[in-house]
């Protein structure tokens, strides 16, 4: 197609397309090997941090934060009471079958090392349409219900170990 180009080509079209495929294969191999190398050296389990902002919406207000390991499969069910306050409760897969369904506004499912919002009563459904979050930095957010879920690692870039939930608490309010 571009044999008629102004610039004289020294090799023909077929060879160029072959080179393109080689380039693509090389790039894919690079990405795979980067993942493998990272998996070997940086194998930290991931957690999710669930933040429920209070109705004032200001940072530093009395929000609630949970940390939960992504290896721990189950469901986070969010309830909204008549005052508009949101609380969350975690159920393992078996408990989830039994759980009641009143006042449920969101359901977050933890499985396969990812967190996915599978149910929400908000009108825009952005949180549901966001795919599962599994990598550090990914997040699932339901703004109408003030729910922010972020995938965090156990360590930050400086290597400081986060001793946040060593005392076995599920939630901390401030």
């Amino acid at each position: 197609m571009f044999d008629n180009d102004i610039i004289q080509h020294s090799i023909n079209k077929r060879r160029r397309y072959a080179n393109d495929l080689i380039l693509l294969a090389a790039l894919l191999m690079v990405s795979v090997s980067v993942l493998i190398i990272l998996r070997i050296f940086v194998g930290k389990g991931a957690y999710i941090s669930i933040n429920i902002m209070d109705q004032n919406g200001k940072s530093g207000g009395t929000g609630v934060e949970y940390r939960h390991s992504l290896d721990d499969d189950g469901y986070f069910v969010f309830y909204e009471d008549e005052y508009g306050d949101i609380t969350a409760c975690f159920y393992s897969d078996e408990e989830y079958e039994e759980a009641g369904g009143e006042n449920v506004c969101n359901i977050l499912r933890i499985s396969d090392g990812s967190a996915d919002m599978i149910y929400a009563t908000c009108p825009d459904q952005i949180c549901v349409n966001t795919g599962p979050a599994f990598k550090t930095g990914q997040s699932v957010v339901c703004l109408p219900h003030r729910i922010i879920i972020t995938v965090v690692s156990g360590e930050n870039m400086n290597g400081d170990h986060d001793t946040y939930n060593d005392d076995g608490l599920d939630a901390v309010t401030w």
Partner: protein, 181 residues
């Protein structure tokens, strides 16, 4: 005389491609492309850089690329997004110019490398700006999506470039020694 005409034609093409790249940047801003990396973009405007690289030359493509980043940053984005765009655009231009110079790849391949470099540059800036090393895991989907958009743009370029070549003005200024009238 021929050299002066070619320069005028280059300027015209640069203006055209700059305008086109701004439109593409606008379209880009409408498409929600979010991987959790703030400021990441699809890289559609690379099409214009690619076309200029083939039609005009290295300098022209680079000039339009930089101007486009600045203008589109002011028009459709914010300062922080401009930083990501600049990194992506510069790295993408370097890779595309290099691949183009080796003269061993089709426009699809050149654009493929450019798309991957575009996303990689943005990822590197994001990793430094947010101080999060573990974002490097994004390199896998970014390479794939960069290759996909790059290949698509390259394919479009293979359709567009022969049409440009057929235009009569360019024939008269062709770099070939003989005129094909």
């Amino acid at each position: 005389m021929v050299r002066q005409d070619k320069r005028t034609l280059n300027i015209a093409y640069m203006g055209l491609c700059l305008a086109l790249s701004l439109i593409l940047s606008y379209v880009e801003s409408l498409i929600p492309f979010n991987f959790g990396i703030p400021g990441i973009k699809l890289g559609l405007a690379n099409l214009c850089v690619l076309i200029l690289l083939y039609v005009c030359g290295y300098k022209e493509a680079l000039i339009v690329d930089i101007i486009r980043v600045i203008l589109a940053g002011f028009m459709f984005g914010n300062m922080s997004m401009m930083m990501y765009s600049l990194a992506g655009a510069i790295l993408s231009y370097m890779i595309m110019a290099f691949l183009f110079r080796t003269d061993r790849f089709s426009p699809i391949g050149v654009s493929l490398g450019g798309g991957v470099a575009h996303n990689t540059g943005q990822l590197i800036v994001a990793m430094f700006a947010l101080d999060t090393f573990s974002m490097i895991y994004y390199i896998a989907p970014l390479i794939i999506s960069g290759a996909l958009t790059g290949a698509l743009l390259g394919f479009i370029a293979t359709l567009v470039l022969p049409a440009i070549n057929r235009s009569s003005e360019l024939k008269n200024l062709s770099l070939d020694s003989e005129n094909k009238d």
